[in-house]
Amino acid sequence: MSSAPPRPAPPESALSAPYWEGLAQGELRLQACAHCGTLRHYPRLLCTACFREGVIWRVASGRGRIHSWTVAHYAYHPAFGAELPYTLVTVDLDEGPRALGRWHGGELALGLRVRARVEVKDGVPTLGFEPQPG
């Protein structure tokens, strides 16, 4: 049996390089408009409120609530075959935007409080979430 290929890495993008640099350091960074402060995610050129360019990257708390989820039972890329089944969660971050991440916890429900947990797999910073204690 041949070894699995490495997991797909994000393509290089000047627009979102600071996001990936942050994630590699364990930070979840979001674009904030340099003019009006409005947050936006995933990274894009223009502010959704004032339609201007210019970004300041802010570090999000990583805390939020479960919006939805899926459990993968089939690997559409061979890199993930050995990880089946795995769960992906969509999270409403407390700052407003959403994030997708791997789930490191048990039973899920809409609204469940979670916090971010970043791992590096095959050299790719990988966003995950776990239940928020307390």
Partner: protein, 385 residues
């Protein structure tokens, strides 16, 4: 009513055989279906003066000019919205016909997904509209439509109580219809229990919630309404057509309401243009990449209130003989997956009275939807005229 209402009609439809493991290229399949549609319309290939090739590995306008010896092509376009593209192309075709630019527009699709480089988990990452998925979600293992769409269905289930049996009702209706269709790939009867017991792919989607991976081609010719009077087959008029994009069209993760699709914006415009209501629709061909997508689109089109799509499809409503016969050819779930061009072909056949064992008696008004990429939508309301 609007400037497009009943100004264009479908005069020709064509399909190849649908199968798995075709040895023919996407373009060969596209051309085979095109020639069948052009012949069905009573035309010669060089009569085509507009072409809208569909698909990511499609022939381009120049290929059609070369192969069909078209002397003067007046219009071509590429519509990059996945499975919404064929119905979106009806809108484009009707527009250039109503404005007098074209008389006969060909819309054609072919695909061969049996080639190993073209599997579901790979091909979307060749498409720029998936760039957020490719960058932020594919590295996490969110790689293919089943996984990407599953959170929409899960949230619908959690909020509205939609059930596995509701999904199953869609799968069973499509399979029953496929059994009546000579071109359908899937002929084995299935029950709700078979659906529930099929293996999980991306929870809540089981194998029988997922559309087929298949090879084939399909095509239609859209003509000026008056030209349709001279066609050998009854013309099928495009009475209303509209397209719409969901909020956050390139990311379901970031969509404010992930249980709403672009079709919710398009549908009121299409019904208004056609001057009809949901109650007037006699047959529906609804893009069924996944069972859930049919339930969601029924809500977005206003056939039932938001959240009531599950109970709406239960009790056989979508089956032949039910109140809203849907996907009378078997759909993408059981006939074949050619980006929904087969749905347009089937609606035309129904409205011509050519649908054979699956014919809805005396059907004169029906609709066809498209669903593309991350939730782009399109709706055409058509009538025998």
């Amino acid at each position: 009513m609007s400037g497009l209402t009943d100004r264009a009609c479908v005069t020709g439809v064509g399909e190849t055989a649908y199968l798995r493991g075709s040895t023919r290229s996407a373009f060969e399949l596209q051309v085979e279906a095109s020639l069948a549609a052009i012949a069905d319309a009573g035309l010669a290939p060089r009569d085509i003066d507009g072409v809208i090739p569909i698909g990511i590995v499609s022939g381009i306008a120049e290929d059609f000019i070369d192969n069909f010896a078209i002397e003067d092509l007046h219009f071509s376009a590429v519509i990059p919205h996945g499975g919404a593209s064929p119905v979106m192309a009806l809108q484009a075709a009707a527009s250039v016909i109503a404005s007098g630019i074209c008389r006969h527009v060909l819309i054609a699709f072919g695909r061969n997904v049996s080639a190993s480089a073209n599997k579901a988990g790979a091909r979307i990452h060749q498409m720029p509209q998936f760039h957020y998925v490719t960058e932020f979600e594919h590295p996490l293992g969110n790689s293919a439509p089943a996984q990407i769409y599953a959170p929409m269905a899960r949230r619908h289930m959690e909020i509205y109580g939609t059930t596995v049996e509701h999904f199953g009702a869609v799968a069973v209706a499509c399979r029953e219809h496929a059994r009546l269709n000579e071109r359908a790939i899937m002929k084995k009867p299935i029950t709700l229990e078979d659906h529930r017991n099929s293996r999980m792919i991306a929870d809540p989607f089981r194998l029988l919630d997922c559309s087929l991976e298949s090879d084939g081609g399909a095509a239609v010719v859209v003509s000026a309404a008056e030209a349709g009077r001279d066609a050998p087959r009854p013309r099928v008029l495009i009475s209303g057509v509209a397209t719409g994009h969901p909020d956050s069209p390139a990311s379901i993760t970031q969509r404010p309401d992930m249980t709403s699709l672009g079709l919710a914006k398009a549908a009121p415009r299409a019904f208004r243009m056609a001057g009809v209501t949901q109650a007037d629709i006699e047959v529906a061909e609804i893009y069924d990449c996944f069972t859930y997508a049919v339930i969601r689109q029924l809500e977005d089109m206003g056939f039932c209130a938001k959240g009531e799509g599950g109970p709406f499809v239960a009790d056989g409503r979508l089956r032949l003989g039910g109140a809203l016969p849907t996907n009378t050819h078997g759909g993408l779930l059981s006939q074949a997956h050619v980006w929904g061009l087969n749905h347009i072909v089937e609606l035309v056949r129904q409205l011509r009275g050519e649908a054979g064992a699956a014919q809805v008696a005396n059907a004169r008004l029906g609709l066809v939807t498209g669903y593309g990429d991350l939730g782009d939508g399109a709706l055409a309301i058509m009538r025998r005229g």
